[in-house]
Symmetry: C2
Subunit: 145 residues, 2 copies
């Protein structure tokens, strides 16, 4: 019996940390014979934070989405992860990760953790909420800074 | 390169959930060639909670320690885990697990999670604190209830 079949790795598109997390996730995927999906969640921008540079929140979010898609593509390409396993979602990180995990029947969610940042950055105070609401196992990998 | 060398599984001595967690931890240990330690943490009893049955907190804690050691022994015996890999500590679960992980140079901490209880019971609101303070990777395994 395979331990895991489908792994979902949440990346925050900080190149240095992501590379280490992807390497570890790939090693686990290889060891267990699982497939690996990457997910990056873009949080919606609060209206009050809008400056003068963009005519609307929607334009700014589209710009961020375009850049994030490019960055995720670069990361995935470097590690030979195909386009259909690169996921970008807008929303709350916790809800987006859990909902995608359910949709794809993921059995292991991996989160990169680099000390003060990492999990804190990605999930804020909702880390324990992800743990108790995730439909599957959750692995926090420690990335040496 | 082995993914993990030394795994520490925190158990709460709820027989049904522990058995599932131990099975999963053993499967991961086998898959990665790691050794498996079990740890159970007994929290200190607040003085105000003392009833009439015990002359002192110390007597009560000793009684709990004796019972927990027996229960952990049974669980370990069932899964062929030797005595030198059975650890009982008194203190704060978060601090005890992290300190033992450092002492034993553990590279993966596994916590059993059974929905509402589990991680919540074991670590309370400090789950995210364990994640960000652990010296190593942390895996929360979901136990079906």
């Amino acid at each position: 019996m395979k331990l895991y079949q489908k792994i979902l790795l949440a990346v925050d598109l900080h190149p240095k940390c992501d590379n280490a997390a992807v390497k570890k996730a790939l090693a686990i995927a290889e060891e267990t014979g699982a497939s690996l999906h990457l997910i990056h969640v873009i949080e919606h921008i609060p209206a009050y934070s809008l400056g003068q540079a963009y005519p609307s929140i929607i334009d700014l979010e589209e710009e961020i989405l375009k850049e994030a898609t490019k960055e995720l593509g670069k990361l995935a390409h470097k590690h030979h992860i195909p386009a259909d396993k690169q996921i970008i979602v807008m929303g709350s990180p916790k809800a987006a990760i859990i909902s995608k995990a359910e949709e794809l029947k993921i059995d292991l969610i991996i989160l990169g953790s680099h000390g003060r940042h990492g999990i804190a950055l990605l999930l804020g105070s909702t880390a324990s909420s992800v743990l108790s609401h995730a439909p599957c196992d959750v692995l926090a990998v420690r990335i040496k800074e």
